[in-house]
């Protein structure tokens, strides 16, 4: 049995495990969540409804889930990985079918107290599945083409299902998170170099062919790409969001306009300010100091994750923790890049701050895995 491989005797048992939680990481998570409550309170015009209070309840639920997950030994979760992955794929399929009959793009399942988005779940279960796969795989086979194809399939299935929902942002996130785990597992760097080269080549070809006789895309498709890459071309559509977002950010200045004083938010100039565009709200009201502080908090969370991964000395634990870290990193960096006009507008929330149940819960469970790896690390 695999659990015998771990140094059981040196890990804490029973309720004493709680004392061995990475409390610094937990505190960081609570702090970030509190920033979220504050901003949701502000966005609602100084009210706990309709966002701050549900968000608090969910965070409480998520924090409890994190502790429960943390108390269970990490190798149990390794054994659950395949099951978790399978369940998330089934849920994605379920949503796909019932979404179709329900009309429109239905991305969630109503659980009564919250709406579960299987695509959010898939972000973590893909990481778990890949980690378990590489834990199982002989190390000298990781770069074997056959064994490289399998993780591609593992990633491709949920990516495809989210893409057709359609949810471009989430499918990209899953793909990049999965790719990161493959990279971390030690797959030869030439594979990545090849993929990147091919990607760059394809994009270059597409753009180079524009306006020539062998154009690879139709004109309107190029136009769509242009708008996607540069939203200011469409000032009333996608460009409106990004322009207003940058105005909110920039007008914050060094120290911001003050809590509840952001005019961009009060005047509804900034759309989606409680979900994907919550960061400009923070930046407007608390300025560069506030925005940079949040970035610092995020970086600190990553530092703790990397530390945990490096201390784990156990393949599954390290890969899962790093996978979670990369996923978390992708969340906030894409979101921030997007609202600051560095990346196209794709629907990616700011982790632990944006209003949303599934993402919050799934992330807290993922941090539960990190905590579990921390408690049950080899000593």
């Amino acid at each position: 049995m695999s659990f015998l491989e771990y140094h059981v005797k040196s890990t804490p048992t029973g309720w004493r495990k709680i004392l061995h939680l990475n409390w610094a990481l937990a505190l960081l998570l609570v702090t970030v969540a509190c920033v979220g409550f504050l901003m949701l309170y502000s966005v609602a015009g100084g009210s706990f409804q309709p966002w701050a209070e549900p968000q608090m309840e969910r965070f409480a639920l998520g924090f409890t889930a994190m502790i429960i997950v943390a108390l269970v030994p990490i190798w149990f979760w390794r054994n659950m990985s395949v099951l978790a992955y399978a369940v998330s794929i089934l849920l994605l399929l379920y949503v796909e079918f019932f979404g179709a009959t329900g009309g429109g793009a239905q991305r969630w399942i109503d659980l009564g107290f919250m709406r579960l988005q299987p695509s959010e779940m898939a972000k973590v279960t893909v990481v778990m599945m890949l980690a378990a796969y590489y834990d199982w795989l002989d190390i000298d086979k990781v770069s074997n083409p056959l064994y490289v194809a399998i993780p591609l399939l593992i990633i491709g299935l949920p990516v495809g299902l989210t893409f057709i929902q359609p949810d471009l942002g989430t499918s990209l996130l899953i793909m990049m998170g999965g790719g990161a785990v493959i990279f971390l597992a030690g797959v030869h760097w030439l594979y990545f170099a090849t993929v990147i080269a091919m990607g760059v080549g394809a994009v270059t070809a597409v753009f180079a062919s524009r306006g020539t006789s062998w154009a690879l895309l139709a004109d309107y498709q190029y136009a769509r790409i242009d708008t996607f890459l540069d939203p200011t071309r469409d000032p009333l559509g996608a460009g409106y969001h990004i322009t207003q977002s940058q105005i909110a950010l920039g007008s914050g200045g060094w120290t911001g306009r003050g809590f509840m004083q952001g005019t961009q938010i009060r005047g509804d100039f900034l759309p989606e300010s409680h979900t994907d565009f919550i960061f400009p709200t923070l930046a407007e009201e608390f300025g560069f100091v506030g925005a940079a502080s949040l970035l610092l908090l995020y970086i600190l969370i990553l530092v703790f994750c990397i530390a945990t991964a490096l201390m784990a000395r156990e393949r599954y634990a390290s890969l899962v923790v790093m996978g979670v870290a990369v996923t978390f990193f992708l969340y906030f960096s894409i979101n921030m890049a997007m609202v600051m006009g560095l990346a196209p507008v794709v629907g990616v929330p700011l982790p632990l701050v944006s209003y949303g149940g599934s993402a919050m819960l799934v992330l807290m469970v993922a941090f539960g895995l990190v905590q579990s790896a921390h408690i049950h690390r080899a000593r």
Partner: protein, 652 residues
């Protein structure tokens, strides 16, 4: 599958190495994000702060109240009335159709209005108030207000709209306002932001138009904070609007009403002025129209009715209508001859009823002729031949120069939409205009106010005022602005020999007061109110030799539009001239149409009320009384309004 220690070490090493690479990527990305934050929030903070302010702050214009227009005694001629209207806000109304049905039950709304409102409600953002109906009565507005709980989203509102309480009587003086059209903006090049205010009204005719800059006022502003959809969140500060200046005119509302009423039924123009000061007391043009129609939006039917009327109610005949002045021009010729020494007071000319000049025969209006006439007699009897003779001696240049001294052929500076220049022709003018030489026949025609000569009633009134006083009287229409009297220099002396003026006065006196005078029938039978004047008839057709041989067709037998114009100018009281009047009745058939009108308005001006029958010759008293009984006159002279200009209040 157990792993060897070496494999585990290998795995840890790989993961550590790769983790550090990923960690480096994290750090790099973090640095880029922080750099971007710094760029946006620190380096470009001011730019974005400005953009945020532009987003947030909106300037709303507050409409100024338009200046009021008063008559010389403070009677309100143009005011602003409360315009009660009801608006609906879609998002507050819920079921818009049900609410509109309910409103239609309370307020009398026609289907067109309802349909227009429905369409506007559909097209505007849901929070914008849309006017369902305006110009409601207080009762209707109250009904809506009382039923407010059953009418969600419906609001009774009050705005200001122009109103002309005296209606048609002042259409041709005060004019009217109308909405700001694209055409107006283009035409005037006016960029005053106040024009952007919805439902704003600008002057479109006469005083309202020409005194626009005084009457308009200055828009106020209200700085408001708005949200993305334009909804006002709160007012930041407010700079109230400055109302327009109040304008007081020289006209007398009671007299104006009397003159308009007296002209009713004719196509005519009349001007009466204070011949000492130049104050225009009444400027009437008949038929007239209700200027309130233009404010409220005139219907096509009404517009076509006004536009196609052969009596041309929209034309201002008093200042814009140009007519051959006929015999009223003879005083000019007489003075030109006297002043130039071409004739003496006692010199007589024999009138056989016609005069041969060149190979043409020029007729006197009396076929049998007047016999021997001197200058006084020629004016009294309006002998054409006498003036043909004078004209040949004086020449057109002297006549026209004298005409201009008396204000004919000159554009008088009045704030009116159309003030005609008229025409006192010269040889050079004819050459320029027709490329023809002036011939002596032209001079003869001009001497009896026919041919090229053209004047408006305003010209003739000014001429009469100058004849009466011998001074350079300038017509004036604006008495004061915001209580500050208009700056008016003392009229200069015309420099006419008083003896010569006295001769002309004597002639004009005899016109109405000598039994041989052309207007003796229309005299005033009272020493104190007696007036002097001159009749005029101007032909609008040529009388051929054949017709003259067969006997000139009587005016009554001609179709209306071919009958002669009737004219009369006069001043009163004769001994101490105070009022000068000019009347033109288009196609009136002759001066007999105009003289009684001039008599009546001169008497009305002197009495200050409807003239009593005792002032008329006995034989006319009953018919005059009957006429006054039927006239559309104010029951009582309009009472000065509450808001009187500071210095106003003295009688006309």
């Amino acid at each position: 599958m157990k792993r060897t220690q070496r494999e585990i070490e290998d795995s840890v090493r790989t993961i550590t190495r790769r983790s550090l690479v990923v960690g480096g990527l994290f750090a790099g990305t973090g640095a880029v994000l922080a750099g971007r934050m710094r760029y946006l929030q620190v380096e470009r903070a001011d730019d974005f702060r400005l953009l945020a302010e532009e987003n947030r702050i909106n300037l709303r214009l507050l409409p100024p109240a338009r200046g009021l227009i008063f008559d010389r005694r403070g009677v309100l001629l143009a005011g602003n009335e409360q315009n009660y209207r009801i608006t609906i806000v879609r998002e507050d109304a819920g079921d818009v159709d049900a609410v509109l049905d309910e409103v239609a039950r309370l307020v009398n709304l026609d289907l067109v209005t309802l349909e227009r409102a429905r369409e506007e409600i559909r097209n505007r953002p849901s929070f914008v108030p849309v006017t369902i109906a305006d110009r409601l009565s207080w009762e209707e507005l109250s009904a809506v207000a009382v039923n407010a709980p059953a009418l969600p989203g419906v609001n009774p509102e009050v705005g200001l709209s122009r109103v002309y309480p005296l209606g048609a009587d002042f259409a041709h003086v005060v004019g009217y306002v109308g909405p700001v059209s694209d055409w107006y903006l283009q035409q005037t090049g006016d960029t005053d932001p106040v024009l952007q205010i919805p439902d704003f009204q600008v002057g479109r005719y006469n005083i309202e138009d020409k005194a626009e800059s005084m009457l308009r006022g200055r828009a106020g502003t209200s700085r408001v904070e708005v949200n993305a959809s334009g909804r006002i969140m709160r007012e930041l500060d407010r700079d109230p609007a400055t109302p327009g200046s109040d304008v007081q005119l020289t006209v007398d509302a009671g007299l104006q009403n009397y003159v308009e009423a007296r002209l009713e039924g004719e196509s005519a123009g009349a001007v009466i002025m204070d011949c000492q000061t130049g104050d225009l007391l009444a400027l009437a043009s008949a038929p007239t129209f209700d200027p309130n129609l233009f404010v409220r939006g005139i219907s096509t039917t009404q517009w076509n009715g006004l536009n196609n009327d052969p009596y041309r109610p929209l034309a201002n005949k008093a200042t814009q209508g140009l007519y051959p002045p006929g015999s009223t021009y003879k005083m000019i010729v007489a003075l030109a001859a006297l002043e130039g020494g071409f004739v003496t007071a006692n010199e007589t000319v024999s009138c056989p009823g016609h005069m041969e000049v060149g190979n043409r025969r020029f007729h006197c209006w009396r076929r049998g002729g007047h016999g021997r006439v001197d200058i006084v007699g020629a004016i009294m009897e309006s002998c054409d031949v006498y003036f043909y003779e004078l004209a040949q001696r004086v020449g057109i240049e002297n006549i026209s120069a004298m005409a201009r001294r008396f204000g004919c052929g000159v554009r008088h500076d009045l704030p009116m939409s159309g003030v005609a220049e008229g025409l006192a022709p010269t040889m050079e003018w004819k050459r320029r205009r027709f490329d023809q030489d002036w011939v002596v026949g032209d001079t003869l025609n001009a001497s009896i106010g026919q041919g090229f000569v053209l004047s408006s009633p305003l010209h003739l009134a000014v001429m009469t005022a100058r004849l009466a006083t011998g001074r350079m009287i300038e017509p004036t229409l604006v008495r004061s602005v915001n209580g500050v009297p208009s700056d008016r220099p003392e009229p200069e002396d015309l420099g006419i020999n008083p003896d010569h003026l006295a001769l002309v006065h004597e002639g004009m006196w005899r016109v109405t007061n000598s039994s041989r005078g052309t207007a003796y029938r229309y005299r005033a039978d009272d020493e104190g109110f007696a007036f002097a004047g001159k009749t005029g008839t101007s032909q609008v057709r040529n009388i051929t030799a054949a017709e003259r041989a067969a006997g000139v067709i009587r005016n009554e037998d001609l179709p209306w539009e071919r009958r002669d114009h009737g004219l009369f100018v006069g001043f009163a009281p004769y001994n101490n001239p105070r009022y000068a009047a000019a009347v033109i009745v288009e196609h009136g058939g002759g001066s007999a149409a105009a003289a009684p009108i001039a008599r009546d308005i001169l008497l009305r001006a002197q009495v200050g009320d409807v003239p009593p029958p005792e002032l008329y010759p006995v034989s006319l008293r009953r018919s005059i009384e009957a006429m006054h009984g039927e006239m559309r006159i104010f029951d009582a002279p309009p009472q000065p309004s509450g808001r009187t200009p500071g210095h106003g209040g003295q009688g006309a």
